[in-house]
Amino acid sequence: MKADPKGVLTGSHYLDGDHACCEGALAAGCRFVSGYPITPSTEVVERFSSRVPVVGGVFIQMEDELASSIALQGAVWAGKKAMTVTSGPGFSLMMEHIGLAAMTECPCVFVNVQRGGPSTGLPTQPAQADMMQARWGSHGDYEIIAMSPSSPQECFDFMIDAFNIAEKYRVPVMFMMDECVGHMIERVTIPEADDIEVTERNYTSLPPGEYLPFKPVENMVPEMCKVGDGHRIHVTGLTHDERGYPAMNHMAQEEQVGRIVRKIREQADDIVRYEEFEVDDAEVVVLSYGITHRVAVEAVQKARAGGLKVGMLRLIVVWPFPEKRIAQLAEQGKALVVAELNYGQVFFEVDRCARGKAPVVLAGHGGGTVHETDFIVSKIEEAARVGK
């Protein structure tokens, strides 16, 4: 279906990533945001609070992130597309409800404009150190989808994708920005509403009494309904059966929790998304995402100019992870450099997928600023040496 023109600010704009993220959400059909202020994400909700009265919808500033991360789920079950927005400390507080959204298969988007941590860390400066938390931060076994934009334009474009895949897989999507991307100002082109594809919620056509809110129908994903439709559903964070009724036994755990894990893992090939540059002849491949991708581009160009055969793989969807592609690259004997604004998170995943077939070198950085280009170049050189 095409985007609702009311939410689409067609034209060419000069926006920072936070504002572009908000416009992406509006274009995707998001009409409910519950937020709590936190640097460097606040501009997203500031813009939403200013735009939504005219577009039609609700912004509510909740009392904390525990509240904001569950209010949006109430709104989803009432039929809205919804998101919440935060940064590291708030993301920590939201973990319980990311688990609830995964368990109840509530399609929604959590935006995290990452800053340095742990704890209060570096509120106004970038990091990419919440990547593992995005994947595993809530207790128990589950799978989510995480995306990482590198520019304001991508904040707009990928937000639409984030809302769409949330609906397709009935899963919470983590939109993992960082302070640099959030605050950098660039041209953002917003297309006509007719040129924006929006995935509608897959509401059941079954009559009340026949619809089962947790029975998979297509792609291991159950259909949705909303309150007031007459289905009189029950939704619980407890392990449940197809009806949504609590079921305290290992069979239900395997059937339902197993399925919410499998629906992502077994369909990862359809969800995984990355870009490659000059990988074919490369002896070293630099893997990065988010703001670090843009630094890595320069590092790769510099290393190429210096005579090294370097390529690059840039993650757009970070979770699920392109395991097969990494394994292939390692099989081909290409050394891998992982550049990220943390002391090694995606790095360990790359190392795992390489299975010892190729050297994997971390170009880590604690955050607070972006990498020096030459530091990544030095890691490319190191990988090239180790690779031989």
């Binding site: 909740m62 525990l66 509240a67 904001s68 009432a78 319980e96 289905h231």
Partner: protein, 299 residues
């Protein structure tokens, strides 16, 4: 009249006639989930019964109602009512209900949960939803302890209560819930006990009819833990205690309605006032500020 006779009369007055047509509550309950998990003579079932009665008397289409619960014994209410119902996380029923209500204002949204859930771990949400005057009804079943986890001391346990984490007696001061609710802006505040089935049903009806954040506290026996450990006997004996110690004082200043371990229990309707709801305030404010650019939000 003895308490037993009174109860019998009350049941008869409700005209509950189980018969060939099935259980009288089967339109309201998920009968495929019965038997429930609550202990014999626990007060929560009474509250569910009265809630059903209130909805029936209001003549509401059950499709237009949603129930949200948190975690705990009372948190299980959402799982038994045959209504769109959500069993959320511990303490967060109110913010979930807030999102639900604001996204679909025509839905009647009722939070039914326990004291530990609503005013201890969920205390921050309770005070802010009341401050905002979100149009939801909160029914708090107060059994003075964390019952589901085995009877730990709670923010509502009267001073000197013996509980599993206050083995020498509670030395803290408990919340006075009507006082709390009024002070943060609730438009309707009432307290009844599980014994007062007609009055609590009426209170629920009034609360559901009243726009804004409305609050009904129901004191309920916890025979397995609170009553046993504090030597109140079983649930029936505790109802007898309510019968002998309750004082109906409508309009009593809420500051006066503290509950001691063996004190009198003040019950009644304490607050009934008008205040714009969050959505009314948003719509009128934005209309004033934005004029024709703003179309009042209706969901």
């Amino acid at each position: 009249m003895s308490v037993n006779e009174e109860l019998k009369a009350a049941v008869q007055a409700q005209d509950v006639q189980p018969g060939a047509d099935g259980h009288p509550m089967e339109d309201f309950l998920r009968m495929d989930r019965i038997p429930h998990i609550w202990c014999p003579t626990c007060g929560i079932g009474v509250v569910v019964n009265c809630f059903a009665r209130a909805l029936e008397k209001l003549g509401l289409d059950l499709d237009d109602v949603a129930v949200v619960s948190g975690i705990g014994c009372t948190g299980r209410v959402a799982g038994y009512v045959k209504i769109d119902s959500f069993h959320t996380t511990h303490g967060r029923a109110i913010p979930f209900a807030t999102g639900l209500k604001l996204a679909k204002p025509k839905q009647k949204v009722v939070v039914i949960s326990g004291d530990g859930d609503l005013v201890s771990i969920g205390g921050n949400h309770f005070v802010h939803a009341a401050r905002r005057n979100v149009d939801i009804t909160v029914i708090c079943v107060n059994n003075f302890n964390y019952a589901m986890t085995g009877g730990q001391v709670a923010a509502t346990s009267p001073t000197n209560s013996i509980l599993t984490t206050s083995p020498y007696g509670n030395f803290e001061t408990p919340f006075n819930l009507p006082f709390l609710a009024e002070s943060v802006g609730a438009t309707y505040v009432a307290r009844w006990t599980a014994l007062h089935i007609h009055r609590q049903t009426e209170a629920m009806i009034e609360a559901l009819n009243k726009p804004g954040f409305t609050f009904v506290e129901i004191l309920a026996p916890c025979p397995t833990i609170f009553e046993r450990r504090n030597k109140f006997g079983d649930g029936l004996e505790r109802l007898n205690y309510y019968y002998e110690h309750s004082e109906i004082k409508h309009g009593e200043p809420t500051a006066n309605v503290d509950i001691g371990l063996r004190s009198k229990i003040t019950v009644g309707k304490f607050v009934d006032k008008d205040r714009p709801t969050w959505l009314d305030a948003m719509n009128s404010h934005l209309k004033r500020k934005l004029g024709d650019r703003f179309t009042p939000y209706e969901g």
